[in-house]
C-alpha cells in the first residue's frame, strides 16, 4: 500500500500490546492489519522526515521512503526481541532514509561547494543587476534556495576539485574541461541524467576512467597508476572521452572543440 502523505492527519496511537497483536496478524498475511499499523505510525514517519528536510527532496518522497522502512520493520519484527515495536521500527525508518540519501550523496563536498559557489556568483550578479546593491547572505540563500550556512561555507571556498598535475597544461594548449563545465547553467538533475546517458555509451575502461576521475576525484596520476598506463595516456584518453561525451550530451552546442587542431 501507499500510505497517504498527509501531514495533518493525526495518527491514532496504539499501545504496544495492540501493535504486537496486529503485527502477528500482519506477518500471517493480514493486509488490513498491516495497513492499520502503518496508519498508526504516520506521525512518527513524518517526524523523521522533518529531520531530513532541507536537502532538496520533496517531503512526500522522503515520507514514502520512511514508510518503506516502517513496512520492513513490520515484516521483519521478531517477537523474541522482547522490545517495543517502536524501539525496533524507529531506527529502521531512519536507516532507510539514511541509505536513500547516501546513495545520492557520494559527491564530495569539494565538488558540490564549487557548484554552489558558481551558482551564488551568478545569483549575486543577477541581484545586483536588479537592485543595484549587494545581496545579504539571507537574500542570497533565499534566491538560490539553500541554507544561510551553506552560503557562508561556499563563499569561503571553491574547494577545488581538480588536482594540480592534471590542470597544468603545457604548450599543446586545450585545457581539459571538467565535466561540470559541460553543463554550466543547467539544473543538477539534468546534468546528472545527461551524464549518465553519455556514460552508457562508453566502454568499460572509459567508464572506469571517468568514474575514477570525476566521481572519486582521483588525479590523472592516480588513475594512470590504477589503469597501468602513463599519465599522458590518461590525459589523451580523457580528452577523447570528454570530446565524445560532449557530443553525446549535446547540452552545450556552443562548446567549441576547434582548438583541437594542434
Amino acid at each position: 500500500m501507499r500510505a497517504k502523505a498527509q501531514r495533518a492527519q493525526p495518527s491514532e496511537s496504539l499501545d504496544d500490546a495492540s501493535i504486537k497483536r496486529l503485527l502477528r496478524m500482519s506477518q500471517q498475511g493480514n493486509k488490513s492489519a498491516r495497513d492499520h499499523i502503518v496508519h498508526a505510525n504516520v506521525r512518527l514517519v513524518w517526524s523523521v522526515v522533518q529531520r531530513f528536510a532541507h536537502r532538496g527532496y520533496e517531503p512526500d518522497d522522503l515520507f514514502q521512503i520512511g514508510c518503506i522502512g516502517l513496512m520492513k520493520a513490520i515484516d521483519k519484527f521478531d517477537f523474541s526481541y522482547d522490545v517495543k515495536f517502536s524501539t525496533y521500527a524507529v531506527p529502521m525508518i531512519i536507516g532507510e532514509m539514511q541509505r536513500f540519501l547516501r546513495d545520492d550523496g557520494t559527491v564530495k563536498v569539494s565538488r558540490s561547494l564549487k557548484e554552489l559557489s558558481n551558482k551564488l556568483r551568478r545569483a549575486k550578479e543577477q541581484w545586483m543587476g536588479v537592485h543595484g546593491t549587494s545581496p545579504t547572505v539571507q537574500q542570497l540563500a533565499h534566491a538560490v534556495g539553500v541554507d544561510v550556512a551553506d552560503v557562508i561555507v561556499a563563499l569561503d571556498a571553491t574547494r577545488a576539485t581538480a588536482s594540480i598535475d592534471e590542470t597544468v597544461f603545457e604548450n599543446d594548449g586545450d585545457p581539459i574541461l571538467l565535466i561540470d563545465q559541460l553543463a554550466d547553467d543547467d539544473g543538477d538533475w539534468f546534468e546528472k541524467f545527461a551524464l549518465q546517458e553519455a556514460m552508457n555509451t562508453l566502454n568499460e575502461r572509459e567508464k572506469l576512467l571517468v568514474t575514477l576521475r570525476y566521481f572519486h576525484d582521483l588525479t590523472q596520476a592516480q588513475v594512470a597508476k590504477r589503469l597501468g598506463i602513463s599519465q599522458v595516456q590518461v590525459s589523451r584518453l580523457e580528452k577523447k572521452i570528454l570530446h565524445h561525451m560532449r557530443q553525446q550530451c549535446a547540452m552545450h552546442p556552443d562548446v567549441q572543440d576547434g582548438k583541437e587542431s594542434g
Binding site: S47, S86, V90, P91, Q98, G105, D147, A149, H216, L218
Partner: protein, 143 residues
Amino acid sequence: MNTFTLSFASRSENESFARVAVSAFAAQLDPTVEEIREIQTVISEAVTNAIIHGYQDRTDGTVTIYGRIQDGSLHVSIIDFGVGMEDVALARTPLYTSKPDLERSGIGFTIMEQLCDAIEVDSAPGRGTRIELCKRIAPVMVS
C-alpha cells in the same frame, strides 16, 4: 591529530553556527556531501537537546563542543551544565520524550545513534550532560 573547543551561549540562533563550525572542521577529512549533512544533523540534535532540555530554554547557559580528528574519524563531545538526566537508558529509548507538549517526538537520540558510529552519554541530575559522538569518514573506496 587536530582539535578545537567551541563554547557559545545557549541560544537557538547558535544551533546553525555550531553546525557550520563543526562541519567546517570536519571538512579536513574530505567527506561526502551526505556525510557532512549527517554531521550537521547529529550536531543539531545534540545542541538542541542541550538548549531545550539541559538549559530548559534559558539563554544564559553555555554549550561547549570539543572536537578532534584522529585516524580518519571525527570525535565530538557536546557538553552542557544544565539539569542533566536521571535515567539515560530511558532517555535513549526511541520515542521517549520528556517534553511531548513542545511537540518533541523523542527521536533525537535515535538519529544520533543511527548516523554515528559510536555514541556515549554521560549525565548527572543537576550537573549536566556530555554526549560523545564518533563518526568515521571513510575515504572513498575505489572498487
